[in-house]
């Protein structure tokens, strides 16, 4: 009864059935609490560190901060290539929605914003993805500030699309030097494995051609990294750490900007608009100017190139503007080769500077008649006069003599002077040309790739720079420099030194060693005399071109006959100025006689070099 008086202790009667069911409810609750409790224990206590790492992984992004590449300046410090900051719209294919309606909608919306069709975007992404599989594809460079803000604030609406600040190469002088500089781009999987690019990370921009490629390790900076905290929409909410990017070092070239510009101007518009020039210091192989026409604006490579534009840049029908004819143009050289024939003949003892050969205007060798240009007879002449008037018969005879001596001295000396092999200039992709030898032609003949074996006529043609010979302007400039400097076959180079941002020299670039050939001084003098006469004495092939020019010039014209097109104009000359010696090689496709196009262009360049009044003086010589 006492219990009844204590309400707290009393239970109202409940049926056993209800008790059972309440117990079941309680049991369910207990089980569920136990499950959740252990699940929590598992998540928070047992695997807590794993989830904390995932949480941090969620919020922390390391964003590469691209380093600007170093500037490229000419020998006087004139900036040839520098950088500008640009905003790029990029697509990371890995983060795109799967191909299908969602991606199509994304492309449509993005296309409407950046002004491209969805098809264009798709094509571009595919193209760049094929090229460099893991790097984001840039679909628009140079985006406006507004576009940047628009896309940046709506990153969740444009999955896979990012806007980033990038450094674009800038070429303040437009076309000038375009062929030398080359291009840059994301490192390719193949390049990643190359020793040259050791230590370079995926996605880094590296030089792909030209100077940018050759001196990439100096020009390339060290990318920085920014560790940012992002929210769920990928918006940066704060920077946690920053490693500053290091700009690449500046590269000083041996190029003289004024000469470079003058050279490009001088050859443009001559012949069929295709040609090349090289200007080189014969003392040390420093290239002072090197150019090719038609040229192009390298700024176009700063942005993704359209298919049509790339085609226009490479199409042979408009002269393959991307082709650097100075190092990749392989041509017969015409009479400019006579310098090499002279060296070969003199050094091999086939003749002396005073050996007279009669030039009746034509000659029969091996049953074939070889003629001077126009059949003009020059009478009996020795080396100097032969070079002065560019007597073909003289050199035909020489070529035949050397051939008959069986020493292959012409090929040997041409090879020593660098014909038929790369000069080793510090530009990628130099062509070797072709130095025809008996062994070469006989091998072709055995393989039925040509109709006849080597004959004396081949050597006769080679002696005047015709026949199968192919040489590049840089090879000719190197060969002439070797004669000019007394026998050092230099390795031409464009890179001069590596500077810091303030212009202080960090490192002088050592060109490869030169090759010494033995050149008898009297032989050399006789050749240079002949070249000087050609450029100055009455009857000299380029004498009228240089009329009134205040500095000494030793130069040789060349008129190369090429199948199915007009003659190619060549000129290689040497200014033996003690302070500012210079060798210039110029070639103009379909430019006619050497004195007509190439020599006047060389005069313009020499005028620039010596600071004298520039005048285009076309010569009248019709010799080859």
């Amino acid at each position: 009864m006492l219990q009844l008086q204590l309400p707290d202790e009393r239970r109202p009667p409940i049926t056993p059935q209800l008790a059972l069911r309440v117990a079941i409810l309680g049991g369910i609750a207990l089980t569920m609490f136990a499950i959740i409790f252990f699940r929590l224990w598992f998540l928070e206590v047992l695997s807590g560190d794993k989830y904390r790492a995932q949480a941090n992984n969620n919020r922390i992004r390391d964003v590469a901060v691209p380093a600007p590449r170093g500037d490229i300046v000419d020998r006087n410090g004139t900036v040839l290539v520098d950088n500008r900051v640009s905003i790029a719209v990029q697509i990371d294919p890995r983060k795109l929605p799967p191909a299908g309606p969602r991606r199509r909608v994304l492309y449509q919306r993005l296309g409407a914003v950046i002004g491209e069709t969805p098809h264009q975007i798709d094509t571009e992404v595919r193209r760049q993805h094929a090229l460099v599989p893991y790097a984001p594809a840039t679909i628009k460079s140079d985006a406006s500030r507004d576009l940047y803000s628009y896309l940046f604030e709506r990153q969740n609406e444009f999955p896979g699309v990012t806007v980033t600040r990038v450094y674009l190469r800038q070429y303040p002088h437009g076309n000038v030097g375009a062929h030398m500089f080359g291009t840059i781009g994301s490192i390719s999987p193949g390049e990643l494995k190359m020793l040259k690019f050791k230590g370079v990370h995926q996605g880094t921009i590296v030089g792909q051609d030209g100077i940018e490629y050759s001196y990439d390790r100096y020009l390339r900076g060290v990318d920085g990294a920014s560790r940012v905290q992002i929210d769920s929409l990928g918006r940066a909410t704060g920077e946690l750490a920053l490693r500053q990017p290091l700009q690449g070092k500046n590269l000083k070239l041996s190029i003289d900007f004024g000469l470079q510009r003058e050279g490009e101007q001088a050859i443009s518009g001559l012949g069929n608009g295709r040609g090349a020039f090289v200007a080189m210091d014969p003392r040390n192989g420093e290239v002072l100017a090197l150019g090719s026409t038609p040229s192009f604006d390298p700024n176009v490579f700063a942005k993704p190139l359209t298919q049509a534009r790339y085609k226009a840049l490479t199409s042979p029908s408009n002269g393959s503007p991307l082709l650097d004819r100075a190092i990749r143009g392989e041509y017969p050289t015409g009479s400019t080769f006579k310098l090499i024939t002279s060296v070969a003949g003199l050094q091999s003892g086939a003749f002396t500077p005073d050996t007279f050969i009669d030039d009746p205007g034509s000659i029969q060798i091996g049953g074939i008649t070889f003629q001077n240009s126009g059949g003009t007879p020059h009478g009996a002449l020795a080396l100097r006069e032969a070079l002065q008037v560019s007597s073909d018969v003289f050199f035909y005879t020489l070529g035949a003599r050397i051939n008959n001596s069986g020493t292959q001295a012409l090929q040997k000396w041409a090879h020593r002077l660098g014909i038929g092999r790369p000069t080793g200039i510090d530009l990628p992709g130099e062509f070797s040309g072709l130095l025809p030898t008996p062994a070469w032609r006989d091998r072709l003949f055995r393989k039925h790739l040509t109709d006849r074996p080597w004959s004396v006529g081949d050597n006769v043609n080679l002696a005047v720079g015709q026949g199968d010979l192919e040489a590049t302007p840089i090879q000719m400039a190197t060969a002439y420099s070797a004669v000019a400097n007394g026998g050092r076959v230099l390795r031409p180079h464009i890179g001069l030194e590596v500077d810091d941002a303030a212009g202080r020299v960090l490192q002088t670039i050592q060109p490869g060693a030169s090759r010494n050939i033995h050149l008898d001084p009297s032989n050399r003098q006789a050749i240079l005399d002949g070249l000087h006469l050609a450029a100055s004495a009455p009857g000299g092939t380029s004498a009228d071109v240089w009329a009134g020019f205040p500095h000494q010039i030793d130069g040789k014209t060349g008129t190369a006959e090429r199948p199915n097109q007009a003659d190619q104009s060549w000129y290689v000359c040497y200014a033996p100025d003690p302070q500012r010696p210079l060798v210039i090689a110029v070639t103009i496709e379909e430019g006619g006689f050497g004195a007509e196009a190439a020599a006047p262009a060389a005069r313009l360049m020499m005028s620039q070099w010596f600071g004298v009044q520039k005048k285009f003086v076309a010569g009248t010589s019709t010799t080859r």
């Binding site: 009864m1 009844l4 008086q5 309400p7 009393r10 239970r11 109202p12 409940i14 049926t15 059935q17 209800l18 008790a19 069911r21 309440v22 409810l25 309680g26 369910i28 609750a29 569920m32 609490f33 499950i35 959740i36 409790f37 699940r39 929590l40 224990w41 998540l43 928070e44 206590v45 695997s47 807590g48 560190d49 794993k50 989830y51 904390r52 995932q54 949480a55 941090n56 969620n58 919020r59 905290q229 992002i230 929210d231 769920s232 929409l233 909410t237």
Partner: protein, 398 residues
Amino acid sequence: MNTSPIHKREEDATAVAPRPPVLRLDWLLLLATLGLIVCSLITVGDATRDDVPGSPHYYLDRQLLFAGIGLILMFAVSRMDYSRLRELKYGLYAVTIASILLVLALGAASRGSRRSFDLAFLNFQPSELGKLLLVLALSAFVVDRIRRLRDRDTTARTMLLALIPSALVIVQPDLGSGMVYVIIAFAVLFVAGTSWKHFAVLGATFAVAITLALAVAPAAGVQVLKPYQVQRLTGFLNPSSDPQSQTYQLNQSRIAIGAGEKTGRGVSGATQTKLNFLPEHHTDFVFAVVGETYGFLGAAIVLALYALLIWRSLRILTLAKNLYGALIAGGIVAMLMFQVFVNVGMTVGIMPITGVPLPLMSYGGSSVIVTLLALGILQSVYGEARMASAFKGRALNP
């Protein structure tokens, strides 16, 4: 309230027995309630500090207001005799259906899905209030038919009464509330003593229905559930399959809880919450915020409070002075249990996403106020039971 018979009885009791007045509230239940409210305020306040630019207390202020209103209503209801609600069963049921229909109609008018009315500061969700009203109405219907409990008819009608509003809210679409309604009906029948055979049949029927809705109907071209609902329901089985989409929320929630480790990352270190990786961090996923910010310790405290709440509710069920009270208590305890387990289960990655709020913890006026009202009714059941036993005790005492 002073005119209510409850008071009179109490006065009678105290008048008869000059002993300390009978405790009219279950203090432990009240403790659990207030504890959870405090936890909710702390968590919601922490989680939403950066959500509304310029007003860091936007959600906290509102949650505080909802809790205040809810507590006042709770105390008011607890002093009322719940038994009187039995007579209002038709009205209660009609209000439930009508308010849900009204929301549907408004949603149709605004060409979007709607779950709520805008009532001044409160987004009033009829489906939330419906949970409590359904408990009250269904319990009354079952009490009326208690003599025919063995009839299949009774079970079928009761289920039908629950399925109508359930179907209506699933259409809204509010799958979670629809499931709560069904659970309530189950619980009321279960506590009333419906035979196991009926439950077996019901269970089988639901299994078939779910199979039809999830598998057969879509194959036949009829979409019973919206595709995202199906994905949510099935996504938790394979959480890493589609990390950016439906299961994203589940993954982020799990990461948030796991990252809390034993004692939590603190308010400023809880990056999952702060940087919005955790979706709905003040509503459906509020438990994940507790887990991340206060770790296992914090989550365990909250779970302990729920355990206390459910234990006291079950105890009140056993104490109820009449069947109606017991059924109400059963419905409410089932409603609370279901929501707690489904919601917490979802945040820890063992239950699908169904959009069920965590009672008392999740931000939201409708949910908080309705839950507090329900707890008020439980207190009323408790109070009435104490009254009755005290009275009986007096009466039996010679």
